[in-house]
């Protein structure tokens, strides 16, 4: 019998990770807006740092998506724009089934920043000028999604602000492991239901000079309203801090709005 009757088991899980990007892309011709708010204690100045990252996301085609963002922070004098970045992701492998999928994507980011270089760890999301290239693989089975990524980073000078830690320390690798689970709704009936997802992510970096690393754990909760608005709340906590950072702990509040078929 060719005509397979698919069972009505719910096909959903969560891979809209808070601290990493999954291998899946957003829909073609959709545009998303994000306000990423990071709050962190600076270990040196003891003041509470605030970083605002407005971000625009664009589904360029079924395989390619692009993010552009700006970094604003109160680290220096007042609350000022310090830089920006452009990120693109290309989904090159997909095996989809009704109840699961496995996807892989390659991604790259170029960041520029004019803030002074204040830590050994390389951060292209608000600290360093530089570039990053990597691969992410995401497996989704029913309500659970698991994603791993690995990337290579290179830090350049922040304009006239030199990278202070020697040329050999400009290179690092990032690696992540993310797990997400859909908690609510138990059963989908409409687009207006609120979705709730719980996630735990491990975020690490090893500098290729002396092999110093950090490893963080980042639990988060996510709410999706009306199938187009998203609120993420997360906390990033360091487990290993051999690689120096000024603010290893941070709190994240993200607001996101998506427009489908925007043009």
């Amino acid at each position: 019998m060719l005509l397979l009757i698919f069972s009505s088991q719910l096909v959903t899980a969560q891979e809209l990770f808070v601290y990493t990007e999954p291998a899946s892309n957003m829909a073609t011709k959709s545009i998303g807006f994000r306000l990423n708010n990071f709050f962190m204690d600076d270990l040196h100045s003891k003041k509470t740092g605030y970083m605002l990252i407005p971000e625009i996301m664009w589904g360029a085609s079924k395989r390619i998506m692009v993010h552009a963002d700006a970094f604003l922070s109160n680290r220096n004098n007042g609350f000022v724009a310090e830089g920006g970045s452009i990120y693109t992701k290309y989904r090159f492998y997909s095996v989809d089934d009704v109840h699961s999928h496995f996807r892989m994507a390659a991604y790259g980011r170029y960041s520029f920043n004019n803030t002074y270089v204040h830590q050994n760890a390389i951060d292209l999301y608000g600290h360093n000028t530089g570039y990053e290239g990597g691969v992410v693989a995401t497996k989704l089975i029913n309500k659970v999604a698991v994603s791993v990524s690995g990337s290579y980073l290179h830090a350049q000078d922040n304009g006239s602000e030199k990278f202070l830690y020697g040329n050999k320390s400009r290179n690092a690798v990032n690696y992540t492991l993310s797990v997400g689970k859909l908690m609510l709704p138990k059963e989908y009936t409409s687009f207006n239901q609120t979705n709730m997802n719980l996630m735990v992510e491990m975020l690490g970096q090893t500098n290729l000079n002396k092999g110093y690393s950090y490893l963080d754990i980042a639990p988060s909760v996510q709410f999706i309203f009306l199938s187009r608005m998203r609120i993420d709340v997360g906390y990033r906590y360091p487990l290993i801090t051999k690689l120096h950072r000024t603010s290893p702990e941070s709190f994240l509040l993200r607001l996101e709005y998506n427009i489908f078929n925007a043009y």
Binding site: F6, S8, S24, D96, V98, N195, S227, R230
Partner: protein, 170 residues
């Protein structure tokens, strides 16, 4: 003789007629209602689509069409893929008017050619649900499995002599 000829042409003219009533697409690879919403919105942008009913639980979409509209199966599939997902099943409810169907053979249905696979030779009349088996209209696993059903080259290309051939089953 003229009369017989007339009856014959009339018969064949009607035999090629088949009206698409509605289509149900099940998508695969969905992760959340936001993903389902993106397919829902993408399908609505097609000018021949009148209404889309989404069943989020099954990730399936029931589509009805504007009267007299020229319905393009490939465009519907492309919209699901543009949203970042794949078609797992594509079922078309059609109203057939006395169509003779033979297994592993081509038959003209409206502007398309249908290639029936895995069916008994039969006579289709009234509302029937057919499922499209072409590449991208079923999972890649199923597409591979069904390749045993025919030796004809159109199965891989979806074309014969420049004409779109849809591989279908009942």
């Amino acid at each position: 003789m003229k009369k017989i000829f007339f009856v014959f042409t009339l018969f064949f003219a009607f035999a090629t007629q088949a009206q698409v009533k509605d289509i149900t697409i099940q998508a695969s690879g969905l992760t959340c209602s936001m993903c389902s919403n993106s397919i829902f919105k993408a399908l609505q942008t097609l000018d021949f689509v009148e209404k889309v009913d989404a069943n989020i639980k099954n990730s399936s979409f029931g589509i009805s069409f504007k009267p007299g509209a020229d319905i393009d199966f490939d465009q519907l599939k492309a919209k699901v893929e543009d949203a970042g997902f794949f078609v797992a099943s594509f079922r078309v409810t059609m109203n057939f008017d006395k169509l003779t169907v033979n297994n592993d053979a081509h038959v003209n249905v409206g502007k398309n050619v249908f290639h029936f696979l895995g069916v008994k030779d039969q006579y289709l009349n009234g509302d029937k649900v057919i499922r499209i088996l072409d590449k991208g209209f079923v999972s890649s696993k199923e597409f591979k499995k069904n390749s045993k059903l025919t030796k004809m080259e159109c199965y891989g290309s979806g074309e014969e002599a420049g004409k779109r051939v849809f591989h279908v089953t009942i």
